[in-house]
Symmetry: D2
Amino acid sequence: MFDVRTDLAVEETERVCGQQGLSHGISVHEEEYENECIKVTTVCIETENAGKSLGKPKGTYITLEAPRMAEEAADYHREISEKIAELLHRLIPEKKEVQTVLAAGLGNRSVTPDALGPQVVDNLCITRHILKEYGNLAFEGGDVTSLCAVAPGVMAQTGMETREILAGVIRQVKPDYLIAIDSLVARSLKRLCRTIQITDTGVCPGSGIGNYRHSLTEKSLGVPVIVIGIPTVVEAATIIQDSIGDFLHEISADNATAERDGSGKKLEEIQHLELTRKILPPQLNQMFVTSKDIDAQIKQMSYMISEGINITLGSLTAV
Amino acid sequence: MFDVRTDLAVEETERVCGQQGLSHGISVHEEEYENECIKVTTVCIETENAGKSLGKPKGTYITLEAPRMAEEAADYHREISEKIAELLHRLIPEKKEVQTVLAAGLGNRSVTPDALGPQVVDNLCITRHILKEYGNLAFEGGDVTSLCAVAPGVMAQTGMETREILAGVIRQVKPDYLIAIDSLVARSLKRLCRTIQITDTGVCPGSGIGNYRHSLTEKSLGVPVIVIGIPTVVEAATIIQDSIGDFLHEISADNATAERDGSGKKLEEIQHLELTRKILPPQLNQMFVTSKDIDAQIKQMSYMISEGINITLGSLTAV
Amino acid sequence: MFDVRTDLAVEETERVCGQQGLSHGISVHEEEYENECIKVTTVCIETENAGKSLGKPKGTYITLEAPRMAEEAADYHREISEKIAELLHRLIPEKKEVQTVLAAGLGNRSVTPDALGPQVVDNLCITRHILKEYGNLAFEGGDVTSLCAVAPGVMAQTGMETREILAGVIRQVKPDYLIAIDSLVARSLKRLCRTIQITDTGVCPGSGIGNYRHSLTEKSLGVPVIVIGIPTVVEAATIIQDSIGDFLHEISADNATAERDGSGKKLEEIQHLELTRKILPPQLNQMFVTSKDIDAQIKQMSYMISEGINITLGSLTAV
Amino acid sequence: MFDVRTDLAVEETERVCGQQGLSHGISVHEEEYENECIKVTTVCIETENAGKSLGKPKGTYITLEAPRMAEEAADYHREISEKIAELLHRLIPEKKEVQTVLAAGLGNRSVTPDALGPQVVDNLCITRHILKEYGNLAFEGGDVTSLCAVAPGVMAQTGMETREILAGVIRQVKPDYLIAIDSLVARSLKRLCRTIQITDTGVCPGSGIGNYRHSLTEKSLGVPVIVIGIPTVVEAATIIQDSIGDFLHEISADNATAERDGSGKKLEEIQHLELTRKILPPQLNQMFVTSKDIDAQIKQMSYMISEGINITLGSLTAV
C-alpha cells in the first residue's frame, strides 16, 4: 500500500546494489564532465531477471546529474541542452532512418510539479506541418527531422487514459519514434530538479506523478518510446518511512547495545515497517512533497529539455 | 482571395434570401422567448442544391440569439444554459442510445477569441473514467451519459491537423457522438458574442478561426458531429469590403442621379469590388477584428456552454 | 529551525488546550449546521498573553469546516458561499460605514497550492471603477459596496515585499477595509482543503506559504485587515516530526514498561526531538506536502470564496 | 469620435511631414544596420508647438524596425536584444546614478495582443530583493542595477487606474526610473510586430490598447518614465477609414477629371469623412484588428525585450 517508490533507476540500483553488490545482468557506467559540472551514469538492465530485482523493465537508463541545473545561468543551460542532445543520439539512430518523431508532454499542466511535459511541448520547434507543405526548403535545405507534438492531459481532465489518446494519434500519424517527457517521482529530496533520466524502456505502470495505469511502451504503442524525465516530487509516504528509518538508525547508533545483536535488528526493522504503516493516514497516498520554488525550476528545466530536443532533431544548431 | 466570409447560416440566409426570397430546399423557423429575451432561429437546408446556394452543407442550423448574453447576470446565464441543453436534445437522440460522448474544444487556447473551445472543455463534468470504474453508483444511480473530452490545439502547436488527432482518439474511444465547440467567424460586428449556433453538419473546410483545412464531419470521422459555435471575430477583409459597400451606398443616397440608373449601379458594384481588392494589402488575409473585452466575454460564454452540455448529459440537474 | 507550524488557530488551540485545558483569555464557541454539514468554530484570543501561548495575535478566528467542501456539487457550494458571507458580516460592520473594500489575492499564481488568492481575485465582481463613473445606477440602485482588487505576486516575481505593494496601493485608494485571501499551512493533512479560516488579525510574519516577512496588519497598513485563508499544504518538516512522534507513541503502546516511568518518557521526548532535527536534511525547509488533485480543489474553493465576497458586498444576491 | 489613431511618432511624422515637410522643432535622424537588417529612426520633438502638430508630447522617440523580428531565429533575436540595450542606454544615464529601476508590464494578460507587457515582466531577471539581502556579492561582484517589477493589470480587473497602482508602488519603493512596457496601436498593418518604439515621454492619455485615461509621466509619477512599446493592433475604425481613403484615391486615379480640380477634391474629402462616420457602427470603437498568429509573435517579442532590459541592467552579459 505504501511502497517506497522511485522512478529513477539510478536510485534503485544504489539501494539494491549498495546492499548486495552489482547483480548479474546489471551494468553501471559513469562519466564525469568536470568543466560542465555534469555527471552521466548509464545503467543497463540486460536481463528480465535483473529487471525484476530492480523493479524496472529491461533497457538503458541514462542519468545526467548537474547540481547547478536549477541556477539561472543561460550559458550553463545551453551546455546541458547540448549534453541532452548527445545522450538522445545514443538511444535514437541516425536521422536518415527517422522520418517523423512524435513528442508527448505527459502530466497535468495545472499542477506545477507535474507540468514539465506540457511546458516542454510549448517550446518545441514543431516542423511536421511545415515540412509537409514546403519540404526541407523551408529550413534552407537543412536536415530537419519532422516533429509533431501533443500534450494529452490527465485522466481527470479528459476521462481517457494517456495511452488511449497516444495510441490513437500514433495510428494516424505513424511516427518512427515517440519521445515522452514526464515529471518523475524520486526517493531522495536531493535529487529533485537536479537529475535528468533518459531511457528507452517507455513509461511503466505506476510511473510518473499521474500514475498512468497502463504502460506506454513499444509493445503497447507499436513504436519505440524514449522517455525524458526529471524528478520533481517525492511521495509523502516515502519521505516519512525513510525519515523513520533514519531516526531509528540514529537511535541505535546512540544505543550501542542494540547494535550488538544483528539478527534482532533485522526483526525490529520489519516490526517498525508494520508500525509505520499503522500510523500513516490513508490520504497520504494522494500526497506528494515538492519545493516552494518549483515554478521557477520547472520553467528553466522545461526550456533546457526543449532546446535539447530541438538540437537533436536539427531545428536548432549546436554551437 | 478575399471572400466575404461567415460561419453563421443565419447570416448567409439573410443575405441570399433577403435578395432572392426563400429558395427551394431552405426552411426557416423562428421562436421568441420573451421572458428570457432569447430568440431561436432554425434554418434547415434540405437539399444539396440549397446548400450550394448558401455555401453551407445540408443539415440543421439552430441559432440562439440573446442580446444580454455578455452581461454579468448569473441567473440569466443559467437560463441560457438550459436553453442550450434543450436545443442540443433536438439534435441528439434519447440518452439510452447514446452511451459515450466525446467533446472536442477546438481552437487555440493562446489567442483569446479562439480560446472558447478549450475553455469550455475546462469546465465540463468529465465522467467516462468514473463510470468505467464505479458505474452509475458514483452518481447515486442518476442517468449520466459518459463524457470524455480533448482540446486538440492547432496545427502551429502540434504539427498535426485537428482531424488527425480526433480521428485517432475516436478510433480508440468509439464515442456515439462528437460534440465540437468552436469560435466562429461572423460577417457582422453586432453578432459577436451575442449568438450561439448549434448544428449537426460538422465543421467544414474554411470554418473556424484556425481554418481547419480538412473537415470534421460524420463522413470523415465516422461518428455524428454536433458543433456548438459562437462568433467571436469578423475577418478584417470582410469588414473593410462591407464598409466600402456601405459607404458607396451612402454616396448614392446623397447623389440622386446615381440612383436613377439601376443597371449602371450594378456595373459599378463589380468595378468597386475590383478596386477594393486592389487596395487590400495581402497580410489582411491573416487579420481579424475582435473586441477589447473579448477575454471577459469568452470566459462567460464558455461557462454557459459547459453548463449546457453538463445539463444535457445528466451530470448537472436543471432547476 | 524546524518548528512545527500551523496557520490555523483552531489547530493550535486543540494542541495547547488539549494538554492544558482552556487558558485564561481564550474562548472557544462551536456551532453545528447539520443540514449543511458545516461546523463553525470561533476562537477568540482576548489578551496578549493568551495570544503568546498560542503563538497567534489577539483577535477573532472563525473556522468553517465542511467535509464535503471539495466535492463537485454546485448547490452545496452555494450554501458554503452564503455561510462565508454571513461570517464575513460578523467581522465587517454595516455597509453604510464601509464605502470601499480592497481585496488582495496573496500568493504565487504559478505554484498550484499557493494560487488560491490570485484565483479568488479573478472571479470577484469588481465595481469601484463602475461606481466611480456611473454610481449606484449601474446596479439598478442596489446597495453595492465599491470593490477593487490586486494580486500582488510574490517577492521572487516582483523583487518587492507584498507589504510594500499593498501599502502603496492603500495610500492611493484609501479603502475602508482590506480583505486578503491566502493559502495557509496546516499541521494535519486531514484539514487540507476542508477548512476555511476567517480572521480580523491580519497576516503575520511566517504566515502563508510564501512566508511574507513583514506583517499585513491594521498597524502596518493603516486599515483593518480581514484574512480569508484555506490550508492547502503541510510543511514537510512538520509531517515528518509528527509522524516520528506518532511512531514513538505506537512503540511505547506496544512496550508497556516504557509507559510506567512518566518522567523518563518526557526526557526521551526531548532527546527524540534532537535526533529528529539531526536527520532532517536542510532543504526540507523549502519543501511542502500537498495533494495530487490540488488543482481541482483550488479551482472549486476559489470560486466559493469569490461568491462569498460578492454576496457580502452586495454585487451578488443571496437566494 | 473615430479619430485615426497611432501611438507611433514615426507614423505621425510621416503623415504630417510627408504633406508639409519637416516642421520647425522636429528633427529626424536615421541609422541603417545592414548586417542586422535593422533600421533605427530617432524623432526628436523639441518644442511644445511641434508636439501639438504631431499630437505627441515633447521628447525623444527612437524607433527600431526589423522586418525579420517575428521570424524564429535565436541568433537574430539576440542581436535585436543587444540593440534594444544600446538604445535604452541613450535614454538612461550611467548606472552609477541609477540605483533602482521599476519595470511595469502594462496591459491585459488575458487579451493576447495586450499581453506584451505582462509577458516581458515574467522573463525579467528580478534582483532588488537579492541585492537588498546579499548585496552585489550575489552576482559575483558584478555591477547589477536593482530591478523590481509589477504587472498592474487593467481597470476591468482591478477597479483601479494603472496610474493609481504605480503611483502607490513608486512612493514605497522610490525607484530612480520607471520602465513601462506596453502594446501599442499602429496605423498601418505592416508595422504590426515589426517595430519597437522607445521613448522618454511616458505613456499619454489614449495610448495603449487599454486606454489608460490618466497619463504615466514624470510629471504625474515623480520619476522619469521610459516606455518600450510594440504595435500589436490597429484600431478597426482606423483601418476602415484608411481603406475608404485608399479606395477613393483609386477611383480618382481611374477618373482623371476628378483629379483636375484640387479644391473640389479637398471638399470631397471632408464630405467623405462625414459619410464614413455615418456608416461606422458605434461598437466599432471597442474593436481592434490583429493577426491570427499574434500568440507566437507576442511570445517571441516579449522574450527579446526582456533580454534587452536584462542586458541594460547588467544581469545578463552581452556577447
